[in-house]
Subunit: 234 residues, 2 copies
């Protein structure tokens, strides 16, 4: 094991796009949304405008599918200059309900990694977004018993992690976070003196992307698959 990780006692896992597929479903939903509005704008323009609307609404709705549905409805009204049909609005709501009903598709090797690591470390799940939605996904995933604690945060900034570690009585130096988002799962941890390993997912939501200079000074490992963690931590 790399000496950096010798002090680690607790490992935190992000959920969406780290343990199971999530962003893919948002990309598919955006595609369907573009198809519904294709007589008003190009897909590229619709994507851009929808993202802006989501960012504008983030302070009201936070993360998760419900806010995404509401942003799509609002976007449809705006992009169509208030000429969108009731039928299309109903279809947009259905896109959202379909997302909520998606099965949970575990990423490669997840169960084995959690099983192996849980023999040596205390594992916790640290996710953000909609409480009910995350609980439902965890339930469907069959992974709940691997975790000593489940935390759904409204955001994943330094302050949220600091509070969480204090609440669970974990020293930053004993904590390693593993996730797909540099912005949410890696950099805030490095900044509070904990460790983090980045496991990129093939798709990243624009909101989770960080400019290169933001993490120039951060030291963290990037691995290509969750499976690589087993060797690193054994």
């Amino acid at each position: 094991m790399d000496k950096t990780y010798r002090s680690i006692k607790v490992i935190g896992f992000d959920a969406d796009d780290t343990l199971w597929v999530n962003e893919t479903y948002f990309r598919e939903a955006e595609q369907e949304f573009c198809n519904l509005l294709n007589k008003f704008e190009t897909p590229n323009k619709i994507d851009q405008e929808l993202f802006k609307m989501e960012m504008k609404n983030l302070e009201y709705y936070g993360y998760g599918v419900k806010g995404f549905i509401l942003s799509m409805v609002e976007m449809a009204l705006e992009l169509s200059n208030n000429t969108i049909s009731n039928l299309t609005i109903a279809k947009i709501i259905d896109i959202g309900k379909d997302m909520i009903n998606k099965p949970v598709e575990l990423l490669d090797g997840v169960e084995n990694v959690l099983k192996t690591l849980s023999n040596k470390y205390r594992l916790i799940l640290v996710t953000k977004g909609d409480l009910l939605d995350q609980e439902r996904k965890l339930e469907k995933s069959g992974l709940i018993n691997f975790f000593h604690h489940i935390e759904v945060l409204s955001d994943k900034k330094e302050v949220n992690y600091t509070k969480l570690l204090r609440h669970l009585d974990i020293k930053p130096s004993e904590f390693l976070m593993i996730g797909n988002s540099l912005k949410s799962d890696v950099l805030p941890l490095i900044n509070i003196g904990a460790e983090a390993i980045h496991v990129p997912f093939h798709t990243t939501w624009a909101h989770e992307e960080v400019p290169v200079n933001v993490h120039d000074n951060a030291t963290y490992l990037t691995v290509s698959s969750l499976n690589d963690i087993i060797q690193l931590m054994s």
Copy 2:
């Protein structure tokens, strides 16, 4: 102090309609919604149908304002036979955003009660609904420092309370819950061997109402104001 409460070490408070006004804002929103749809149906019918829609959508959206907005939009499409104007849909979304932006109005005596009780007991906040929304309200309330722990649950059933008490290492016999909802804040606690005091709010959401026979055997105190708790627990 009543002998029942001698073993109490931790007091849990519900938030919405126990510490601050909430249901009133939903009633006002429903009123505005009825006004927007008054050419399609009577207010009474609209209220009934909206409630049914909320119940149908509860499994998808859970509790909170975002699901409520989505249910209003879906209801408007349905009640108007898909003839609702884009403008009205935009207004419905605005009703929701206005709800999210409401100031937090503390109920009578709340600060004094929390301050007094916090000298003798560990206080925790136990609420359900939308995570971000509840955090935001707590922030606005100025009450956060009275609480040792904040828990936002996706539902308030026996299983949720049992998990919470286990997680916080609190024996049911040491726990007293105080809240306005018999269904969510009182009966589940009695059923798991904890104590509960009912402080009714003048308005109760139909979903939180329980038939009389459900709580025939439960023993709990009802007080007319949170202020009465001080004397009971001192």
